[in-house]
Symmetry: C2
Subunit: 342 residues, 2 copies
């Protein structure tokens, strides 16, 4: 009883006078063991506080019931929420989540991928389709299922990983259509860094393309790239407001930027929406709370996490390769939308 190391399956077996085979079965395939035997084993398990060793189990079974996920950051509610959806659904099916963040650094992402692959994950979830060459190689060599999220567009020609995500170009197009329909003619955009970020890039492209279709331009100078964060939204607006002609409508790559932009407008005494319209992307909980409410493109990110989880589970347990999927998004119009000033 005064063991200093944790109990092993052999300790349980010894206590009840049975073989480790039977104890193992009682735990993994209870129906293969006589009820009475099973009872005694379960009691011994509780008495000793026996918890199976995951490494040994994973080695014997060839799967660890762990999923790896690498996200840009957890320090943005939108990813935290998606991870929450992913983790909760996986846990419900007996899978645990190994999580890593790379802070928008694709080299760090590759290192994270290696670290996770070295820990016996059964599958890997990545955000976006743009990754370091090494990341692709590692995943390919490991031969585990890879699921791409957040985008519905492959980046290389040879990629065949299933995608569950959003049409990021459409996000920009929805914002542009909205502004155009309100009558705006001068536009600005505040984006996260587009380098190594396909989602950010596509949002800019979609916004610009839709404007072009209507015969309007989004000059390079009117697109501000900043790291994500409230202060970046603020700095972005300061920049944009110095341009002539001054933009009357600003699309922000996500709600954090858009809220920073909104707060800065208030600091600068620019009336929103009378003088300036703003559209964000994500629909964070806070976005409907602020005054005026933020117009934004709603992304169902919690559902994304859940869908990614179920897709992965189907893949792993039924060997059914998921079909790629584009989740529906919609523009939510709130108080930051109005026609341009006369």
């Amino acid at each position: 009883m005064t063991t200093v190391t944790r109990p092993r399956i052999a300790d349980v077996a010894a206590l009840v006078g049975l073989s480790t085979s039977t104890v193992s079965r009682a735990l993994s395939n209870p129906e293969m063991v006589k009820p009475h035997t099973r009872e005694r084993i379960l009691q011994a398990v509780t008495r000793l506080g026996y918890v199976p060793d995951g490494a040994a189990r994973a080695l014997a079974l060839g799967r660890a019931r762990m999923i790896g996920a690498i996200v840009p950051t957890l320090d943005n509610a939108i990813f935290a929420r998606a991870v929450q959806g992913l983790q909760g659904t996986l846990a419900g099916a007996g899978y645990q989540l190994l999580i890593s963040a790379h802070e928008y650094n694709l080299v760090a992402e590759a290192e994270a991928a290696r670290a996770l692959l070295e820990r016996a994950i059964d599958a890997l979830v990545l955000v976006g389709a743009e990754h370091a060459h090494e990341t692709w190689e590692l995943v390919r060599a490991s031969r585990i299922p890879l699921l791409i999220t957040w985008t519905d567009t492959v980046s290389g020609p040879d990629q065949q990983a299933p995608l569950i995500g959003f049409d990021n170009r459409l996000i920009g197009r929805l914002a542009a259509q909205h502004f155009i329909s309100l009558g705006h003619r001068e536009f600005g955009m505040i984006s996260g860094f587009t380098r190594h970020n396909d989602r950010a890039r596509q949002r800019v492209e979609g916004f610009r393309d839709e404007l072009a279709k209507a015969g309007m331009k989004l000059p390079e100078a009117n697109v501000i790239e900043e790291p994500f964060g409230f202060d970046s939204g603020r700095a972005g607006l300061k920049h944009l407001m110095q341009l002539r002609p001054r933009p009357t409508a600003v699309f922000c790559g996500n709600d954090v930027l858009a809220l920073g932009c909104l707060f800065e407008a208030q600091s600068m005494n620019i009336a929103v929406p009378r003088e300036l319209s703003i559209v964000g992307c994500d629909n964070l909980p806070i976005s409907s709370q602020v005054t005026p409410g933020l117009s934004t493109v709603l992304l169902p990110t919690y559902e994304l996490g859940q869908r990614a989880a179920t897709a992965l589970l189907d893949w792993l347990t039924l060997d059914r390769v998921p079909t790629s999927e584009t989740l529906p998004i919609e523009l939510v119009v709130r108080g930051t939308s109005a026609p341009p000033p006369l």
Copy 2:
């Protein structure tokens, strides 16, 4: 070359004509292998895309270089941020994070604990000192290091896990002192559920005790318990504003509640801070952005995550049991603070 399973250490060994022992050493203890041999092995590793099997490695070594962490939710920036700090620091030292959330349900927490313990974690991080009996038993039986965070107060008499956290009573006391010094005499509090949440409970206690010291009361009816969320902050304020005498100062258990409270005050046309003062807790990034800025107790949660990580690393690698630690907190006064109306 057309292997359908991933390469094993034996494949690498075969390719270079050496034993698996040598390949293993080249990877784990490079200095034990002749440089030229090492080179050849590394080339073979790259060529085959060999990544060691984590389960086998963990079984042989007796440690998996994985840490488990269970938090109430990731859907609150404050925990997401702490997890980010924890994960980043651990990854820097070669440890990966297995994460789980229990949505403030201690039974779910116990299940999560079991699930993580079954996956060969080297240590476990929990939030708060109040847990299901089963959780304590599981951790004890597993004999792995346990680190308690977010609080600096043990709950049972027999607990000896190190704690790295905050003085949650002090949080409430700081709010009370602040309100008292402004001249308030009628108080309200909006708290998360205190049942099974020692942090929330202690914040209420600290607030109430400090008021009592100054000869003032916080009646039961003036403490509103709601789940965490903006809407709860809103609902809480609606309740409080119906009380007579009406509170002029409201302390909220966290910033999400406080912001909801602030937004509702604006909806109800209650002037903040002229008619109502509000203090929150956490100092979320958004709290300094809104107008008026939210007065709050700043908790260094990112640092908490980092400190927890380094403490754990010391414990695991140097066998140095961490000493418990109370992280410094401070009241940040912003626009939601003012003397009561005459």
